[in-house]
């Protein structure tokens, strides 16, 4: 089995779930802050500031996963299998957990 710097490979492996966890934590914090500061009443384009504040970190996490997905094969070669799965899990988990934010009452 080819060794691709153990820790680097591990980093790629957990990148997807970590992106999701990061977006979730930031959204969680901003959600509480927004409820206290009255963000649901402030409109920013088509969405309220509240929904925007929760959707943007998720969008960032999704973009990060897409960028990493486009590079995982070139970087890790034959060892790319599991990290690629991890990135897809991070991407789908982010979509899944953040989608209700666009429809549900926030506060």
């Amino acid at each position: 089995m080819r060794q691709v710097g153990g820790m680097v490979w591990l980093g790629w492996l957990i990148a997807g779930p970590t992106a999701w966890a990061g977006a979730f934590s930031v959204a969680y914090g901003l959600h509480g802050l927004g409820c206290e500061l009255g963000w649901p009443a402030l409109d920013v384009g088509p969405l309220s500031l509240q929904r925007m504040a929760i959707a943007l970190p998720s969008l960032a996490a999704i973009l990060l996963c897409l960028v990493l997905l486009s590079r995982v094969k070139a970087t890790l070669g034959p060892e790319a299998g599991l990290p690629r799965l991890g990135l897809w899990i991070g991407l789908i988990a982010t979509l899944y957990t953040m989608a209700p934010v666009l429809v549900a009452t926030s506060c």
Binding site: Y96, P100, A104
Partner: protein, 220 residues
């Protein structure tokens, strides 16, 4: 052993009825919550059934299995479908339970270890100890406050539960379909006497609303 286990089933199930059961709802909001409970039970039962079938198959003769079908078909897509359906149901019911639209407002104030309520009476606003009076057949918003620690207002047959937090006011919508007496309790551990922090909700016939209330309330 088997007989003892079977005999215990009715005993355990009997815990599912009674005045503090979410499964014997007495109003539209509590009814929604009960539906959600049954939907979650059905989803969990389906998933458990799948696992049991897999375990049972494991005891049979070794055979070729279509790994992809089990891992992705059942492990991922089937589980995800059940979770998505129950999540959608929970969101939908959650939205219906929110205090949108007009409702009668009453105040509930919690302290270690009792509740006092303020509501409209025949002689203006009246305060009672341990008994909340509401009209049946229409939504009521309970405005929750606390003077010491976090408590939680819960009348399982009439609606969901909501924390009473010092320094802020929370709003919980409840509704009783029929006149009657319903039991409530503090649902957030709040100290030594937490378990005895009970109260009653009396839903009155709309024709007899507002009721003649006295300061003492009517808790025995």
């Amino acid at each position: 052993m088997k007989c003892a286990a079977l005999a215990a089933v009715p005993l355990v199930l009997s815990g599912c009825t009674g005045p503090l059961s979410t499964l014997s709802p007495s109003g539209p909001i509590a009814q929604d919550i009960a539906w959600l409970w049954w939907a979650l039970l059905a989803g969990a039962a389906l998933l458990a059934l799948m696992v049991f079938v897999l375990v049972a198959l494991g005891f049979g003769r070794p055979r070729e299995v279509a790994e992809g079908r089990w891992v992705f078909g059942m492990g991922v897509w089937f589980s995800l479908a059940v979770l998505t359906l129950t999540l959608a149901g929970a969101l939908w019911i959650g939205e219906r339970m929110l205090p949108h639209g007009p409702a009668l407002e009453v105040h509930a104030h919690a302290r270690q270890w009792s509740w006092s309520f303020t509501h409209p009476g025949t002689t203006g606003r009246t305060e009672t100890e341990g008994v909340l009076h509401i009209p049946a057949g229409r939504p009521v918003d309970v405005l929750l406050t606390s003077s010491d620690v976090i408590h939680s207002f819960w009348v399982p047959q009439l609606g969901g539960k909501m924390d009473a937090i010092p320094g802020r006011q929370n709003r919980l919508r409840i509704e009783a379909a029929r006149p009657g007496t319903y039991e409530g309790l503090c649902a957030e551990f709040c100290g030594l006497e937490h378990a005895s922090m009970r109260f009653e909700v009396i839903a009155h016939d709309p024709a007899a609303w507002p009721p003649l209330l006295t300061m003492e309330g009517s808790r025995p």
